[in-house]
Amino acid sequence: MISIKHLSKTYVNPDGSQLEVLKDVSCEIHKGEVISIIGPSGNGKSTLLRTINLMTKPTSGEIFFEGENILAQDYPINKLRQRMGMVFQTFNLFEHLTVLENVTLAPMKLKGVEQAEAEKEAMTLLHKVGMDEKCNAMPADLAGGQKQRVAIARALAMHPEVILFDEPLSALDPSMVGEVLTVIRQLAKEGMTMLFVTHKLKFARDVSTRIFFMYDKGIHEDGTPQQIFENPIHSATKAFVQQIYKLPFVVEGLDFDIVEMHSQMLGFCIKYNIADKIETMQQIINLMVLLVLAEYRPLTVRISYIELYERTTIDFMIEGLETSPLQTDDFDPHLMDEVRTLAKEIIEEPTKRGYRIKVVLP
């Protein structure tokens, strides 16, 4: 359906310096595939996606859509874009138009569809994304997830053969990701060809039929989700998909800076998009550090987040201890019960250097 051959892109900065983002990239995209483009930031994920509908012009190389070279001089770019939908990270709904008008604009202006018919079809699409009741709302009155669903309906209104999603979930509150995901899953089920640029590894693994791991200005590894996430060939891929984000913090004595610790925790949660976990995390750490383990300072607290499995754990490590501190009578046992209700799982184990209590968050 789409074949990309030896594609390169170099940005020229205003000061004349050059920045090469893509270097000799080639790939084939087939009808019905759902492809997620993942990889560390700054490796040309968005650029690759945007060259496909020529929102970004490549420096060299060829792109064929249904056998036609879209980089040919006289190829009608706007006709191409009518066949390729695009959904943006920042939604980009037309602020001056209602939800319904956002969806009907392109079919009416580009395909000459009658207003009544366009509206009827738009309502069907809005119904599909669960936004039909908001059809007369203005975009400014919608929440992020709602905006993104309308944006998907707007793209669908042109009956595209492929839809390009540029980080569709990144700007959303964690609570709103679900509603957009439902819509995307439905499209995948219907066999829509889709390309995603995403940071959400779990999403990529669950939704895609194929993964492009981008690294070092190109597609470093290309395979099924199972291959990429379970048995990656390249070490860079492995390091990326299995990476664990960690935040260690040493609780020294009685007068350690608890405010500083909390602000670091908050920063960590926001950075890795797990802000919804912050409250539970704070409760558990306060209970453990200030009450249950108060006698065992100094101790080290470490928060870990594994993106692929979306698993968050908190480790409490006490050096030089050989028996579990939880088995003593030094504290009120009700406190530990409270921790157990907050946590999904608590694992106690001795280590080489001391004793570790691992609290897994739900």
Binding site: N53, M55, N78, K79, L80, R81, Q82, R83, M84, G85, M86, F88, T90, F91, N92, L93, F94, E95, H96, T98, L100, E101, L105, A106, K109, L110, Q115, E119, K120, M123, T124, H127, K128, V129, G130, D132, E133, C135, N136, A151, R154, A155, M158, G178, E179, T182, V183, Q186, E190
Partner: protein
Amino acid sequence: MKMNKLYILFLALCLVGCAKKQPEKLPMKELHSEADLTGLRVGVQTGSTYDLHLSSRNNIVKMGYNSVSDALLALSQGKLDVFVDDESSIPLDEQKRLGIKVAFYGDEAIPCAFPLRKGDNGLRDSLSHFIDSLNATGEMKEIHDKWFLNETPSQLRIPDLGPEPTGKPILVGAVSELPPLSFHVASDWQGFEPEVLQRFGRYAGRPVKFEHYPLTSAISALQSNKIHIIIGGIFITEERQKTMDFTSSHFSVRAAYYVKDENGQTASFGNKLKDMFYNNLVVEDRWKYITDGLWETVKISLFSLLLGTLFGAGVCALRMSRSKGLSKIAKIYIDLMRGIPMLVFLMIMFYVIFSKTGLGGTAIAVLAFAMNFAAYVSEMFRTSIQSVSKGQIEAGLALGLTKWQTFWHITAPQAVKSVMPVYKGEAVSLVKNTSIVGYIAIQDLTRASDIIRTRTFDAFFPLLIVTIIYFILAWLLGKALDLIVKSKKTTKNDHHKPFDKDLLRSRRFYTSGVERR
């Protein structure tokens, strides 16, 4: 409702201002000659011949005024003892109405003549010849006395002189609008000097067209050949002979020393609103000046607004064009227009750039205001277009709209919405700025008030009337612009209402079983 209250408050304040008590009257001795002026407060028009004449005397208190009406106001309020001006400057009937009289006349008569463009010898010679022959037969004196000795010269009309000739018209700029010298009733010019020129027109076989000009503009108009002759009791002075040619003198003017007439009616000077209303609007259908002026102001404002907005869009397009050269040209244009005072630009357009073309004053004013307006609004357009986020444009392009379609359907509507508040302000200030078109002989609303003021010597009421009209005009324009924006929105919402809610609920619109959250 709120507005009504405001108007009432405003009017009430004005009335309180008018009802101010007259200062106590001072006993006045009879004046018979210039020698009697010693120790008195003597008013003159600043820069007039009398101003110069009296500056040599140390034993009087000389006070300068900008207009006859200002001086008369001072005279009636007792702030001034004597006012010196041409004997023709206040007609007899007005003197009576205002409660003033001439105490005595100056000894010396100063000759007046018609100024012409230097080098216009043909016209000068034939007009001089005509004046000389009228002077010789005594006809000139007859005409002069008919106008100047009449008690109510504003009622007098030029006699029927036969059919108007069809030759090349003689264009006359009138700087005075006072009976009996020269004044107009509707579009017809009457008075002593118009009669002399009309007679000359019949003699020379050319029609005579009059138009009002302020004195300073009239001289520019004469030099740029927009008019051929100036009328208005112009003295022949050495200074003026350097820049203009003069015909033979057709009459002479003495200085008149006006004082308050203790026996005359004194209560009439603008003390009662009813009187003011009657004098300023009803007499001689003077309200017509206001309505004609209003029409002119509205015409100039609306056309400059439309044309200026179009120009502005064009300049904005140039300014935003990728070509650096075009952008630079637009930038220079904008800076230039912003740097020239509007009045100066208007005069340049009228007296220099378009002086040789047959384009009318109104058209030139519209063009000048449109060009100025364009410079200001183009920058507003540019910033509001740039304030539309890139994402909006990308979304449009990604749907397959062309650049132009994206601009038209997505960028422009949002830009219009954001530019509206500043645009409204600029449009209102355009309307107010049109008040300077009087300088190029257009009788707009402000000029209308000036004309009435020079006739009634009332400094206050005509200004109050036009103030209120300008205010209402600006307010209406603001409302109209609001309506345009709003109406666009309501029609949009309207066509959504008919959408059938039952249709939404009907199952046949389910194409897939996506769960509703």
